[in-house]
Amino acid sequence: MVQVLIVDDNDNNRLTIDLLLESLDNIETCEAADGKEAVELCKTKKIDLVFMDIMMPIMDGIEATKIINEISPSSMIIALSALDDKESKQTMLISGAQDYLTKPIDSDLFIQRTKNYINIINLRQNQIDNQDASNPFTTSVYDRKITFFMKNEESIVQFWDFFLQHNIYNCMDLSDYIRIVYGFSRWLIKDNVQFTIDVESNESNVYIMINDIGSLKKGTINNIIHKYIPNALFTIQDKTLTFKLLQIQTVENETLYVNDEAKNILSKTHINNISAEEFIENTAISILPKIDSLENIEFELDTAFIAFELNPTKDMLHKACIIFDEYHDVLELLVEFEHLAFAIKSLISFLDSLDDEKLQSDKVKNLVSLLLLFLNDLSSWRENIFTKQEALDVHYLDASLLSSCIQIEALFDEKDIEEGDDLEFF
């Protein structure tokens, strides 16, 4: 199923595209009325194809294209530009749109192009198979080959220069391999051998083949390669020396996004505004029994987390969440600590979102130990404020607790963190 997002501030335009897409199979559409909505949608949902209007309120298509390219690089973005708007069309392409369609939309052209886009999207997702591949490692390479005809010194220099000028392959130790191929080539040319070098590739590997290496001894080749690239992958078959290079995959961890309210809490400065002593002095005596109830809830919650560790099911975790909710409700009543309540709520909704499949993971043990420490932080906070009354600022834990919640979530899901994580040296 190909997920398509239609972004346009004009309802009619969205409807037109939606109706046109209905004639295609295996498509699911969603809509956004401005760039910001589109960005938010791309954060939560995997989108394959985006039709993006340019002029929109709140956030225009140019800005949204840039952001979506960052957060969801696999989404293909098609700009929808007005016929006479050459300049923004150009800007959209530079910002990362992969093609454009002009408005008003010509329905036949739209359908034809969209089919092509979907073919490309499917191609990117499917395994490739090229029966004409000449490398001995795999037939799973693209239907293309770069061939260098090595006739003299000049051709070898051209070969090296090609890799210096074009960054098409992002391989580990690429320059080492090029240098070694260069070395063998010079040798062959000196022996008056004319030969070809072929390069094939797929998403994860590049294969460089020196054809007709016959005049060099196998043992010598082995020794030289082992000396310069000890962990090189290569094979010599039928007078062809083939290197297999690994392309560096930029592993895109999913990012954990932080909503605006959380950002606001994280950015608050809390230094010695109200001390615990002042706070207790000025706080109605009526809330104190509620504070006392927290200690009991902590105890029950501790027991529930341990029970969950022994039997890590969604059901057991949900039981703990219900108790956690009680804790949240008390803090919410104490208006002064709504930020702590917010942090706890965000942790609860994360925990409640975990399904049995995720809870199979060996990370559950870590999760529980962090949850118990988290609970411990809460009870120290309660003691520092209400029992010992020694905290210099009653809000000392606010931002920190929320950042703990975010870190627990990011650790469990192995996600990158959007907010914070900013390092500066003075």
Partner: protein, 128 residues
């Protein structure tokens, strides 16, 4: 010799996540990490000469003692004034950072932090 890093934060959750974050540095014998939950206790141990560090990582908002005050005291102490301090906090305002810079802290990492960033910060400060 492994370098000694002391981390002080009032949150046990943060102490534990930080320890998980630097697991590689520790298992490779590059650093040892000691944690304190109470900055006042740490200060006392340092001033009495029973504790020492190659690098200190400190939170700011802690109930007993503010991390910037801790840094100020250590920067005024002959034994520690040249030793690096990294602030690890949710505080990210330019104002607060300027205060830290004036005190002489080496760097500033904003929470929530990733494993990579904390490892990078420690490696850069200690030249690992």
């Amino acid at each position: 010799m492994a370098k000694k890093v002391i981390l002080v934060d009032d949150s046990k959750t943060i102490l534990a996540t930080a320890q998980m974050a630097v697991e590689d540095l520790v298992s490779n014998g590059l650093i040892d990490m000691v944690t304190y939950i109470n900055p006042a206790e740490l200060l006392e141990a340092l001033e009495n000469g029973i504790e020492d560090y190659d690098m200190l990582i400190s939170d700011i908002n802690m109930p007993q003692l503010n991390g910037l005050d801790l840094a100020t005291k250590l920067k005024a102490n002959e034994a520690f004034k040249n030793k690096p301090i990294l602030i690890l906090t949710t505080e990210s305002s330019a104002d607060m950072k300027a205060k830290g810079k004036a005190i002489g802290v080496t760097g500033w990492l904003v929470k929530p932090f990733s494993n990579e960033k904390l490892t990078k910060a420690i490696s850069m400060v200690l030249g690992l």
